[in-house]
Amino acid sequence: MSEPVQVPTSAAGSAIEVRDLEMSYGSFVLMRDLTFTIRQGDIFIIMGGSGCGKSTLLKHLVGLKQPARGQISYAGISYWEAEPKEQELLKRRFGVLFQSGALWSSMTLAENIAMPLEQYTSLTPSQVRELASFKLSLVGLGGFEDFYPSEISGGMMKRAGLARAMALDPDILFFDEPSAGLDPISARLLDDLIIELSKSLGTTVVVVTHELASIFAIGTNSVFLDPDLKTMTATGDPKRLLKESSDPKVINFLTRGKSAQHL
């Protein structure tokens, strides 16, 4: 494509735009007709029951999976129509926290965080080391620089993963089930940290979760995926959805099924 490259941060308002997205595994369609916008500074929740394709949607949003149909654009640039170089530049603006942290097991925590810094910045080794230590202390892991991922607990791995996701000061942070496997207090602290980051740095945050407490505590916008209809059935501020939605499945989800008849 010979069109002039747009400056990624120039577009006002929308950080990610998803149009008519269809996700599939081979010939099996998981979700279709997904259309929503994630605004800059949003804490955007992707919610829905287990196995409905939340994590797959996240993989599409971070450029790991190519959509079967439809478009995903970041600040006006359509990812899958962009040149590989441009894709690389776009990716560098993302920070991703995977479900289990996905720390590189052959490296220490400091090395994990230093990797992207060494690659994409011109900092000296001592500056890199200092920055890595600082990022670790942001998530409460100061002093753990020389530990290997196998030597720390699951919750700590998750926090270290967050430190790595923040290494390059990304514009958009993605979280795949951040509170899964965390005790309630750590989960709450992580929520607070997400709000803090979003407010102080203006980072756009996209969170895949089904933890209601988190959804209401942090979410400013959301999309609800329905596995039976294979599409999204609601989008908007979760607190407003709870009050205004007329879809019984959405209400059921947001009220922990209190409206449903159980035992």
């Binding site: 479900q99 996905a102 690659q119 390059l168």
Partner: protein
């Protein structure tokens, strides 16, 4: 009372009252239940089903499966079920398991497709696998181009560690295997050559055999089992832990970052291991020659020297260099292709060894034939 009883009574209005007594537990169910179930299934005048359980002392899943079977038959025969006589806990559990509380339309995949479709699917899968392999090799070639231009990104420490793992740490097993292969070759040759009193030529057979192919092949096979499997398991586990996804989202190419150092390490270490294996093989031959065939040590060494030339040696090195590439490719490819489960990692490791060994044998055949045609 540890016994259990089942009595059935039909009232004139067509209600079958079942009286359950005693302990209804797994493994101690009354034999008459099967006859009862068969009786109800056969149809009849029964309209309703009721229970009295005043004498029921203990129950567990044993009672529940009996009731599940019973209810199933009743539903099919249109018999109404009155659960009021059952204990409260049993009612609740039976309600949880009732068909109306299960997901509808659950099918495990589709019906088994017809034979021809399955054959076609398998063929398409093979083609896809082949295409993936080509894409991987293409990617790897581009990455080598990057390496030559000095632009490849990988950790030097990874390269050094892999060199140590694939080189120095493989010495004991390579020593043992090649020493034994050298001895075996000597034994086999000795049986034939002794007939002509030509034992001294054992040195020729062992020397040329080991240096030209056997040293390289044995090292290749040992490395396919040892290192190829390790590569596949390492990369497969990284795939399961989403570590490879993490690399990609940060803009690192997994091929460049993970495959390249492993490939380089094997390309460097295989020829060195092969030279070592050649030496150990000749030593094995010498042990048999000197120990059993009464050949002098110097005599054996001189005969080996006379038999061997640089061509044999270089052909052996070529073999091992190619095997290094093949073992690295098969290990890394299977690791990268790994699905996201623990059993997939096992499959990846197995598959890496099989692919490695098959490709080693095929490559040996091609090189040997080429040498024959070219007169090398």
């Amino acid at each position: 009372m540890s016994t259990h009883e089942l009595t059935a009574e039909t009232s004139p209005d067509g209600t079958l009252i079942l009286t359950l007594q005693g302990a209804w537990k797994l493994g101690t169910l009354p034999p008459e239940q099967d006859a009862l179930l068969a009786g109800i299934a056969a149809g009849g005048t029964i309209q309703r089903l009721g229970f009295t359980t005043a004498g029921l002392e203990q129950w567990d899943s044993g009672l529940l499966i009996f009731l599940a079977q019973l209810f199933d038959i009743c539903r099919r025969n249109g018999i109404a079920i009155d659960q009021s006589g059952l204990p409260d806990g049993v009612c609740k559990l039976m309600k949880l398991a009732a068909p109306e509380n299960q997901r509808t339309g659950v099918t495990h995949g589709e019906q088994r497709p017809p034979f021809l479709e399955r054959v076609a699917d398998a063929a398409i899968d093979q083609l896809k696998g082949f295409r993936e392999m080509l894409a991987f090799i293409g990617d790897l070639t581009l990455t080598f181009g990057k390496l030559l231009r000095g632009k490849a990104v990988f950790r030097r420490l990874d390269l050094i560690t892999t060199i140590q793992e694939t080189g120095a740490q493989a010495l004991p097993i390579v020593s043992l295997i090649s020493l034994l292969v050298g001895m075996i070759l000597a034994f086999v040759a000795a049986i034939q050559l002794e007939l002509f009193g030509a034992q001294i030529y054992v040195a020729d057979v062992v020397g040329i055999g080991m240096v030209r192919v056997m040293g390289a092949i044995m090292t290749g096979i040992v490395m396919a089992g040892r290192t190829g499997a390790a590569f596949a398991a390492q990369l497969g586990t990284m795939q399961v832990n989403e570590e490879i996804d993490a690399l990609e989202t940060l803009g690192f190419s997994p091929v460049e970052f993970l495959v390249l150092p492993r490939m380089l390490a094997l390309m460097l270490m295989m020829p060195l291991l092969c030279i070592y294996a050649d030496l150990m093989g000749v030593l094995g031959g010498m042990i048999v020659g000197v120990g059993m065939l009464d050949i002098g040590i110097m005599e054996y060494i001189n005969e080996s020297k006379a038999a061997l030339n640089l061509t044999h040696f270089l052909v052996g090195l070529l073999h091992s260099f190619v095997f290094g590439i093949l073992v690295a490719i098969s290990g890394c490819l299977r690791g990268i292709q790994c699905q996201r489960s623990a059993s997939a990692v096992g499959y990846a490791a197995t598959s890496a060894v099989v692919t490695g060994i098959v490709s080693i044998i095929v490559a040996t055949a091609i090189i040997t034939l080429s040498c024959q045609v070219l007169g090398i």
